[in-house]
C-alpha cells in the first residue's frame, strides 16, 4: 500500500511540473507579452512610445532569454511564489485564493447534482422493465453530453431568470445564484455519469453473482442496489475523478455566462491579457486540484476493491 501511495504522489508531482512547463512553452510561442497586450488592448491609447514599452518589459523581465525566465519562474513557483499578476499588480496566489472558494462551491454543487441526476437516471433506466422508458431514459445522456454548455446556460437564464424570475441571472450572491450555473455544469457531467453507470450496471446485472443473489431470494431492488450498483460504481468513481477536471475547465464558460467570479473568470481574464504569471498560477492550481482529486480516487479504489493494490504492486515489482 505504501509503495502504491508513493507512486501515485510522484506521478502527481510529475503532472504538475509538466502542466507548468507546457503552459510556459505555449505562452512563449504566442507573440507579444502582457506589456504589449495592455498597450494593444487600450488601442484608444493611440501613440504608444516603444521605448517606454521596452522599459516596462525589462522591469517585468520579459526581455530575458526564455530559459532564464523559465528557471526564474519555476524556482519561485516551487517555493509557492507565483509573483504578481501584471494586469493588477496583486499577488497571483492571493488572486487565486480569492477566486477558489467560488469555483469550489460551484463545482461541488454541480458534482453533487451530476451524481444525483446521472446516478438516479442510470439506476431508474436499468431498473425499469418497460422497454420504451428505458430507451427514452438512455437516450438522454448522449444528448446531455453533446449540447454546448454555453447554450444550455443561456437557455436556463432565459427561462428561469428573465421569464420566470426565479433566480438571478448573474452574480455570486447566495445559494439562489448558485442554482442555474450548477445545473448548467451538471447537465453534461451528469450525462457522463449516467452513461458509464448505466453501462456497467447492465453488465453487472448479467454477472453470475447477480443470478446467485436472485436465486437466494433477494428482492429486485436489493439485488439492483446492494449487489449490482456496488460493483458497477467503480468505473463511475473513476469517471467522477475525471469529471472534476472537466468541471473546472467548464467553469470558464459557465462563470462567464453567469458572471460569477471564480477560477474560470480569472483564467479567461489572464489569458486575454496574456498575463503570464497569472496564467502560470491558474494552470498549476487547476492541475493541482485535478491531480489531488485523482489521487484521492486512486486511494479510495483499494478500499472498494483490494485487488487493485495487489495488481499495482505486482506490476511494479516486475519492472
Amino acid at each position: 500500500m505504501r509503495r502504491y501511495v508513493i507512486k501515485r504522489v510522484a506521478q502527481a508531482v510529475g503532472v504538475l511540473w509538466a502542466a507548468y512547463t507546457v503552459a510556459f512553452l505555449v505562452l512563449d510561442f504566442l507573440p507579444g507579452d502582457p506589456v504589449t497586450a495592455m498597450a494593444g488592448a487600450g488601442m484608444d491609447s493611440g501613440d504608444v512610445d516603444p521605448a517606454r514599452l521596452a522599459a516596462l518589459r525589462h522591469e517585468y523581465g520579459f526581455d530575458k532569454p526564455v530559459l532564464v525566465q523559465y528557471a526564474d519562474y519555476l524556482g519561485r513557483a516551487v517555493r509557492g511564489d507565483f509573483g504578481d499578476a501584471v494586469s493588477t499588480g496583486r499577488p497571483v496566489t492571493a488572486t487565486l485564493a480569492d477566486a477558489l472558494p467560488q469555483t469550489l462551491q460551484l463545482t461541488a454543487a454541480a458534482l453533487l447534482l451530476a451524481v444525483l441526476l446521472g446516478g438516479g437516471l442510470a439506476v431508474v433506466a436499468t431498473y425499469t422493465s418497460r422497454r420504451w422508458l428505458r430507451q427514452l431514459l438512455l437516450s438522454l445522456p448522449p444528448l446531455g453530453v453533446s449540447v454546448p454548455t454555453f447554450w444550455v446556460g443561456l437557455l436556463l437564464v432565459e427561462a428561469f431568470s428573465f421569464r420566470l424570475r426565479w433566480f438571478p441571472a448573474f452574480g455570486n450572491d447566495g445559494p439562489e445564484g448558485l442554482v442555474l450555473p450548477a445545473l448548467t455544469l451538471a447537465i453534461p457531467t451528469g450525462a457522463q455519469v449516467a452513461q458509464v453507470l448505466a453501462k456497467s450496471l447492465l453488465t453487472a446485472l448479467d454477472q453470475a453473482y447477480v443470478e446467485t443473489a436472485r436465486a437466494k431470494g433477494a428482492g429486485r431492488w436489493r439485488v439492483h442496489l446492494r449487489h449490482a450498483l456496488r460493483n458497477a460504481s467503480l468505473p463511475a468513481l473513476t469517471v467522477v475523478g475525471l469529471l472534476v477536471g472537466q468541471l473546472i475547465a467548464g467553469s470558464v464558460v459557465v462563470e462567464t455566462v453567469f458572471s460569477r467570479d471564480g477560477l474560470g473568470r480569472v483564467t479567461a481574464a489572464a489569458v486575454t491579457s496574456q498575463d503570464i504569471p497569472l496564467v502560470q498560477g491558474v494552470v498549476v492550481f487547476g492541475a493541482l486540484i485535478f491531480v489531488a482529486t485523482n489521487l484521492l480516487v486512486d486511494l479510495v479504489y483499494p478500499l472498494l476493491d483490494p485487488r487493485i493494490v495487489v495488481a499495482s504492486d505486482r506490476r511494479a515489482s516486475f519492472v
Partner: protein, 539 residues
C-alpha cells in the same frame, strides 16, 4: 478491474482541455455610446445598477483605458477642466481659469478654493504637481495618461492655488487632456501609493462619488460624496449628486446583459451590439448612442509599400469602399459611415463626405491609370504581378471580421485581391512598430484633433510610414497654436491632406451604444462618449 484501463487512459484529457481552453480563449471587446435626458421632476436618492461587460482589474482612473472600467471609476475623480460634448469647448471644473502662453508650452491653472478629497485633505497646487509628477511613473496600464504628459519639462506650484505645467515643445492638446479621466486629480496620499496598490485598493479623489467596494470581476460599488460642491461647470445640478449609490456589475455575456435589463435586474447596460438591439426594442428601454470622437475605424496604410506608394492605388481603395453598406450591414443601428478621418464628434472635424463617396467606376479608372490592368481571374496585374494586399486585423471588436469581409468583397469588385490576416490583440502595437503590414484595421478614441498628429506626423512614431510633407507642417502647427480659429484651419488642412492623398482609408465611426431603463433620467455622454453620472436620477 477489467473496465478500468479504458477510463484511465483518457483521464488526463480534461487537464489537456483546461490547458487548451485557457490558451485558445481570445479577447473580445466592444464599444458603446448615446445621449439621454430626463423628464418629470428630478429626485434624489436611489441606486443605479449598471451592467458592464468587463473588468480591467484596476480602479485607478489614471491607469485604466477600457471604457467599461472608465464608466465607474470616472465618477470618483474630478479633472482640472471639462469638455463640452456639443461644442468641444474646454470649460472650468477644478480649475476656475487658465492661461496658456503663445506657443502652447506653458499652461497655468488657477484652482478653485475649498475643494477637498474624500480623505479630508485639500486640493492645492502641490497636489496637482504631485499627480503630474507621478503619472509618468505609472505601470503598463498608465499609457494613456503618460502620453498626455510625454514631453513635460516640469510642473511647479506657483502659489497654493496656482500650478504651472511647462513642456519641452508646443503641446496644445494638453488643455483637452486635463479634461480626461486619465488626468483626474487624486489626493497626495493616494498618489504616493504604488500603481499596483492604486489599482487594487482604489484611489482617493474629490469626485461626486466615493469607491465603497471593489470585487474584481464582480462589482464596483460607489457611494455619493456628501458635501460635494465643486462640480463641472457643465453639470445642471449644483452640489451633490442625485443618486445615493452606484453599483457596476460585471456581466460579460451580451445576451445576459440585455436580458437582465429587460427583466429589470439592472437599470443600464453597456456595449449593446446589433444582435441585442431587437431584444431591447419595445421594452421599457432607451438605446443611447454616440459616435466616439477621434480617428474613425478604417484601414491604416503602410505608405512605404511599393504598391501603396502610388497615390492612385490608395485613392482607388478609398473610392472602392462602400462605407454605407458596411455601416448598415455590420454595425449597430445609427452607426455613421466615415465622412473624414476624424469622427464627426471630434472638435474641429471637417465634413469631407464628397471625397469619401463610393465610386467603383472611379476606382477602376484610377487603377487603369496607375497601370494595373484587369487580368483573367478578375485580379489586376502590372508587370506580371498581381494586385494583392493583406489586411492585418485583431479581434478586439466583434464587428471587425464581418466589416473586413465586406471590404474584401468590395475591393475584389474593382480588381484588388485582399487577404485578411488575423493577429493577437497583443500584437497590435508590435505590428505597427515593426511595419510589416500592407493595411491595418483600427481606430483611436480621443476628443482632441491632436490625435491626427500622434497618428500621422512623420516626426513622431510614424507607424504608417508617411513621407515628410506639408501635412507635418499643419500637424505641428495646430499643436503649437492657442488661437482657436487658426488651429481649426490647420486641423481642417490636415484632414483634407490625409483624405485627398488617401494616406488612410476611413470607413466607419465607432459608435458607443448603451441600453438604459426608462426610469433612469439624465444619463448622458461626455465628450469622449463615456458617461458622467452626477446629474443622473431615477424616478
Amino acid at each position: 478491474m477489467t473496465a478500468l484501463p479504458d477510463f484511465r487512459t483518457s483521464r488526463w484529457a480534461p487537464l489537456a482541455a483546461l490547458l487548451t481552453t485557457s490558451v485558445l480563449l481570445t479577447a473580445c471587446g466592444s464599444g458603446s455610446t448615446g445621449p439621454g435626458s430626463g423628464s418629470n421632476r428630478p429626485q434624489s436618492g436611489g441606486t443605479l445598477t449598471f451592467a458592464v461587460g468587463s473588468d480591467a482589474g484596476c480602479v485607478d482612473p489614471q491607469q485604466v483605458g477600457s471604457n467599461e472600467s472608465i464608466y465607474s471609476v470616472r465618477q470618483t475623480v474630478d479633472s482640472l477642466t471639462d469638455q463640452d460634448p456639443e461644442t468641444g469647448k474646454i470649460v472650468p471644473w477644478l480649475a476656475k481659469s487658465w492661461d496658456i502662453n503663445a506657443d502652447a508650452t506653458e499652461f497655468t491653472f488657477h484652482l478653485r478654493s475649498g475643494v477637498t478629497f474624500s480623505d479630508g485633505s485639500e486640493l492645492t497646487a502641490q497636489v496637482v504637481k504631485d499627480n503630474f509628477d507621478a503619472v509618468p511613473k505609472l505601470g503598463a496600464l498608465g499609457v494613456l495618461a503618460q502620453g498626455y504628459l510625454s514631453s513635460v519639462k516640469s510642473t511647479a506650484a506657483v502659489d497654493p492655488l496656482t500650478v504651472r505645467v511647462t513642456f519641452k515643445e508646443p503641446n496644445a492638446q494638453f488643455l483637452q487632456a486635463t479634461s480626461t479621466h486619465s488626468l483626474g486629480i487624486e489626493s497626495s496620499a493616494s498618489v504616493k501609493k504604488t500603481p499596483q496598490r492604486k489599482c487594487s485598493d482604489g484611489v482617493v479623489g474629490s469626485g461626486p462619488f466615493v469607491l465603497k467596494q471593489y470585487v474584481q470581476n464582480q462589482s464596483i460599488t460607489l457611494a455619493k460624496r456628501t458635501g460635494y460642491a465643486w462640480g463641472s461647470s457643465l453639470w445642471s445640478k449644483k452640489g451633490e449628486a442625485y443618486l445615493d449609490k452606484l453599483v457596476f456589475k460585471v456581466v460579460p455575456e451580451a445576451g445576459v446583459r440585455a436580458g437582465s435589463l429587460q427583466s429589470g435586474q439592472v437599470d443600464a447596460i453597456s456595449s449593446v451590439g446589433k444582435a441585442n438591439e431587437a431584444a431591447l426594442k419595445g421594452g421599457q428601454v432607451t438605446l443611447l448612442r454616440r459616435a466616439n470622437p477621434g480617428v474613425v475605424f478604417g484601414l491604416g496604410i503602410n505608405n512605404s509599400r511599393p504598391v501603396l506608394k502610388d497615390a492612385k492605388v490608395r485613392q482607388a481603395i478609398l473610392a472602392a469602399v462602400d462605407r454605407k453598406q458596411i455601416a448598415d450591414t455590420v454595425f449597430p443601428t445609427g452607426t455613421k459611415p466615415a465622412t473624414s478621418v476624424l469622427a464627426h464628434t471630434t472638435p474641429d472635424y471637417t465634413d469631407l463626405s464628397s471625397d469619401l463617396a463610393f465610386d467603383a467606376a472611379k476606382a477602376k479608372a484610377l487603377l487603369d491609370q496607375a497601370g494595373w490592368k484587369a487580368g483573367g481571374d478578375g485580379v489586376r496585374v502590372k508587370d506580371g504581378k498581381k494586385l494583392s494586399l493583406a489586411i492585418n486585423w485583431f479581434p478586439n471588436a466583434g464587428t471587425n471580421q464581418p466589416a473586413l469581409e465586406l471590404v474584401q468583397q468590395q475591393l475584389k469588385d474593382v480588381g484588388i485581391d485582399v487577404t485578411l490576416k488575423q493577429g493577437q490583440v497583443s500584437q497590435f502595437a508590435t505590428t505597427l512598430q515593426g511595419g510589416d503590414f500592407d493595411l491595418v484595421w483600427g481606430n483611436v478614441t480621443r476628443s482632441d484633433p491632436d490625435i491626427l498628429r500622434s497618428s500621422f506626423s512623420t516626426r513622431l512614431a510614424n507607424f504608417y510610414r508617411l513621407p515628410a510633407s506639408s501635412l507635418d507642417t499643419a500637424l505641428s502647427g495646430q499643436a503649437a497654436t492657442t488661437d482657436t480659429a487658426k488651429r481649426r484651419q490647420l486641423v481642417d488642412d490636415a484632414q483634407k491632406l490625409i483624405v485627398r492623398n488617401a494616406y488612410n482609408v476611413p470607413v466607419v465611426e465607432l459608435q458607443t451604444q448603451l441600453g438604459v431603463s426608462q426610469k433612469v433620467h439624465g444619463l448622458a455622454f461626455d465628450s469622449g462618449s463615456r458617461i458622467q453620472l452626477h446629474d443622473t436620477w431615477i424616478g
